[in-house]
């Protein structure tokens, strides 16, 4: 069905042609190379393309250049637009020409010089800043700093801090020790400072006493860079001048960077993509095996693409050998998911959970209708649906070239919006109760009321019933798929005993329950009982079949019936459809009510009301779309998938052109 069949493809290629063959394969984008398993032969492996080293180092250079230059580059195409596929085209020939023309190493060397100088300047400025801060705290210091940093023949200086409350004591001590043999100085400080900056100048002859005095008052020496010699004010002026010079130089460098960014960034981006395309190609060789003359590649080709690959490779016919076979036991082929266009937007949801394994069912077409309905019920407001449709349609038209994964995702939201409009129209919810809440919309009322089937605010129990019924339908559908899947794999015990037993048992219970609720005619009651008992018997008889011994078989079988509670839980889980739908309309109603209240304010009321309506509904859309998406998805993943789907496959990842900035033009050899 939806997981496409693959062929195992082994290539034997003459070494001289390997580059051309790989390029052709990369151009088709239909061949995934897998490494040889380590035990399948003693041949030489670890083949490295002669150009690999060069390309890898150049790729590193482009990354460095882009990291440094891109912040200085004003991009004409915004980042979002680029991610949405607004890329320039580049053919491989152009890339090759660009590669030959550009001396990337030299450019990188120049730019690296700029970067290094910029870093030096910045660290120098930081250093100057800290010295400046220190000197500012010494403002008014009357001695040349030379006295402290180097001293004279006889006089030494010490600058440092002591606790402010010891200042007076320290001064008295200093006066008594020094006498005529030195001076002391305290930097004027505000009352609040805890530390007092002091300086002591002393003759050699009293240095012992002076140091002891300082030690007694917990003197903490301040280091001053030895280069500082003059008065504080002079040094401050010198630093300011130096900083100005550095700032000027930095500005020049940045201007230079901006200028080279303007010229270089587009080229480097193209080259970066060109090199990464080459690197991808060369890396496939690391999965190859080679002998003297021949390189062997092993990988997978989708069955549908075999003809195209053969055509692309036709010019190498004489030098390659392609052997195709079906996947064998023990192989782990990747999954190439192919879906009809109507459910393509939903494929992303399957991928989010994990791709199906090769040969398993792809759940995309099964979940598509349910997700469609559930999203509509969870959001359930036609006005919000219209806004979603409008926004995403506009987005899709604005970015026509966006990658398919994105466009499918946005189409999913358009579809979800359509479903929301349908459910909203049927339940009469347009921006909450906007039409009913404000008189100016009264002309719309008949239009709004015409399609209404059910108002969930007034009849929540009916809506709850619908939600749970949908749950039963989806769960039964899931069991049905599991039944079919087991039959397909010829696992008859799994089909009839496990899944079949549950289906019969649950259908019986439903009929029985319907009888009790009075919705099923009495005549059907007997059928219900028969189904229930038959299903239960099958389950009891078979669910313990892997156990040994009659008693444990019987106990396991009986215990398996307890699994009915999980089905009950699953069905109740669908009640979220009601709760979220109600929450959306109720939030809308509240917003309208607040706007109505605000509208009563004299003069400016109507402005407040309009602001509240617009802002409130935008907020409500954002919150509720997120909730509706997450919860509809959860119902698929947890309740539905658990019945039949495990995922765990690996997505088919062929050798192709993966680029960030440009789009590589496919070469068509026919032209």
């Amino acid at each position: 069905m939806a997981v496409a069949k693959l062929k195992k493809a082994e290539f034997y290629i003459y070494k001289s042609d390997i580059d051309g063959v790989l390029s052709a394969l990369q151009n088709t984008g239909s061949y995934e190379v897998v490494p040889f398993s380590s035990d399948s032969g003693p041949e030489v492996s670890a083949l490295i393309h002669p150009d690999f080293q060069r390309v890898e180092s150049l790729l590193g250079e482009t990354r460095f250049l882009l990291r440094f230059l891109e912040p200085h580059f004003s991009d004409p195409v915004s980042g979002i637009a680029r991610a949405m596929g607004e890329k320039d085209d580049l053919s491989l020939e152009e890339g090759k020409a660009l590669d030959a023309k550009t001396d990337l190493k030299a450019i990188a060397e120049d730019v690296r010089k700029l970067e290094r100088r910029l870093m030096e300047i910045r660290s120098e400025v930081t250093q100057l800043d800290s010295i400046e801060q220190l000197l500012t705290s010494l403002h008014g210091f009357p001695y040349p700093l030379e006295l402290i940093t180097s001293g004279t023949d006889h006089i030494h200086g010490a600058l440092g801090t002591i606790p402010a409350d010891q200042t007076e004591q320290w001064k008295r001590g200093a006066a008594s020790i020094l006498g005529m043999m030195g001076e002391y100085y305290t930097v004027p400080a505000s009352e609040k400072e805890k530390d007092q900056i002091v300086a002591l100048f002393y003759d050699d002859s009293v240095s012992g006493e002076a140091l002891e005095l300082n030690a007694r008052h917990s003197f903490n020496r301040i280091e001053i860079p030895p280069a500082l010699k003059g008065k504080v004010e002079e040094e401050l002026a010198a630093i300011a001048e130096k900083k100005e010079r550095l700032a000027e130089e930095e500005k020049l460098i940045l201007e230079k960077a901006a200028k080279s960014a303007e010229g270089l960034v587009p080229t480097i981006r193209s080259l970066s993509d060109f090199y990464s395309v080459l690197k991808d190609k060369y890396l496939t060789l690391s999965s190859a095996r080679s002998t003297e003359q021949v390189v062997m590649l092993r990988g997978w080709i989708p069955e549908d693409s075999v003809a195209e690959v053969r055509r692309e490779l036709s010019i190498y016919d004489s030098s390659i050998e392609l052997i195709l076979s079906d996947p064998a036991e023990g192989d782990e082929p990747p999954s190439n998911i192919v879906n009809p266009s109507w459910c393509l937007p939903f494929e992303n949801l399957t991928r989010l959970y994990g791709a199906p394994k090769y040969g398993e069912l792809d759940p995309t077409p099964f979940l598509a209708p349910f997700f469609f309905i559930f999203f509509g019920m969870c959001l359930g407001d036609a006005g919000y649906g219209l806004i979603m449709i409008g926004f995403f349609v506009w987005f899709l038209r604005k970015f026509k070239k966006m990658p398919t994964a994105f466009s499918h995702f946005f189409k999913l939201f358009v579809l979800s919006g359509i479903s929301t409009v349908i459910v909203g129209a049927l339940t009469g919810s347009w921006f909450g109760d906007l039409v009913d809440a404000f008189g100016i919309f009264s002309f719309l009322r008949p239009l709004k009321n015409a399609p209404v089937l059910l108002n969930p605010m007034e009849n929540p129990m009916v809506f709850l019933g619908i939600s749970l019924a949908l749950g039963v339908v989806q769960l039964m559908f899931g069991l049905g798929i599991a039944f079919y899947d087991a039959l397909r794999k010829k696992n008859y015990m799994g089909a009839f005993a496990d899944t079949g037993g549950w289906i019969v048992f649950l259908v019986g219970l439903l009929i029985w329950g319907g009888l009790a609720a009075g919705v099923v005619p009495a005549g059907a009651g007997a059928i219900g009982k028969v189904f229930t008992i038959a299903g239960a018997l099958v389950l009891v008889a078979t669910q313990g079949r892997e156990k040994t011994g009659l008693v444990s078989k019987a106990v396991s079988g009986l215990l398996s019936l307890y699994g009915v509670t999980s089905y009950l839980g699953d069905v109740l889980s669908y009640s979220r459809l009601l709760a979220l739908g109600l929450a959306t309309s109720a939030v809308g109603v509240i917003i309208n009510m607040l706007a109505g209240l605000a509208g009563g304010v004299p003069y400016v009321g109507w402005i407040l009301a309009v602001v509240l309506i617009i802002g409130g509904h935008i907020f409500s859309i954002a919150v509720n779309v997120l909730g509706a998406f997450v919860h509809s998805l959860r119902l698929q993943y947890v309740e539905f998938f658990s019945k039949f789907y495990t995922g765990g496959g690996k997505i088919f990842a062929p050798l192709t052109y993966n680029t960030n900035y440009v789009r590589i033009k496919k070469e068509n050899q026919d032209q």
């Binding site: 989010l352 109740l572 889980s573 998805l633």
Partner: protein
């Protein structure tokens, strides 16, 4: 007597909005701390982180919703006609508000922790965002069930 009934209904509304809102605040806060950590490494993940951080915020909205339902029911909003609420009816409205108050508070905190862990997960594996969004949603189920029960109970009280 009538006033006590109204007061009880208001107590219920206040509990619903207050506790569920407090839970959401804690939950969003926990997720936000984790998100800030991730963004110091990679500011480009802002969008994804914001998405995951927003998930525990819904309980606050559910609580607000029930609070509005409750005060609408006793006619405190919109300036409609006076509705007489006796003590038992007031008490019933109070009880009907409890599921979302209690369920909202605790589930929002638990969901916040799960979101925080999932934010760490997408820091390492941004390609697994789909799964990272589902795990917190598993916790939210119980807030949705609380909301549902509060709605059904409120709906069932006749004044």
């Amino acid at each position: 007597m009538d006033l006590l009934g109204i007061a009880l209904a208001i107590l219920g509304a206040a509990m619903a909005a207050g506790w569920a809102g407090a839970g959401s605040a804690i939950g969003v806060g926990i997720a936000g701390e984790s998100g800030a950590g991730v963004m110091t490494e990679d500011p480009g993940k802002f969008g994804l982180v914001l998405l995951l951080q927003a998930l525990p915020g819904t309980q606050g909205i559910y609580g607000l919703l029930i609070a509005f339902f409750a005060i609408l029911k006793v006619g405190l909003l919109g300036g409609g006609a006076e509705i007489s609420v006796n003590v038992w009816q007031g008490l019933a409205i109070f009880f009907a508000c409890l599921p979302i108050a209690v369920g909202g508070y605790f589930s929002a905190i638990a969901q916040g922790k799960t979101s925080a862990a999932c934010i760490q997960m997408i820091a390492k594996r941004p390609e697994e965002t789909g799964k990272a969004v589902i795990l917190p949603a598993m916790v939210e189920t119980y807030a949705v069930l609380s909301l549902l029960m509060s709605i059904i109970l409120l709906n069932g009280i006749s004044l």
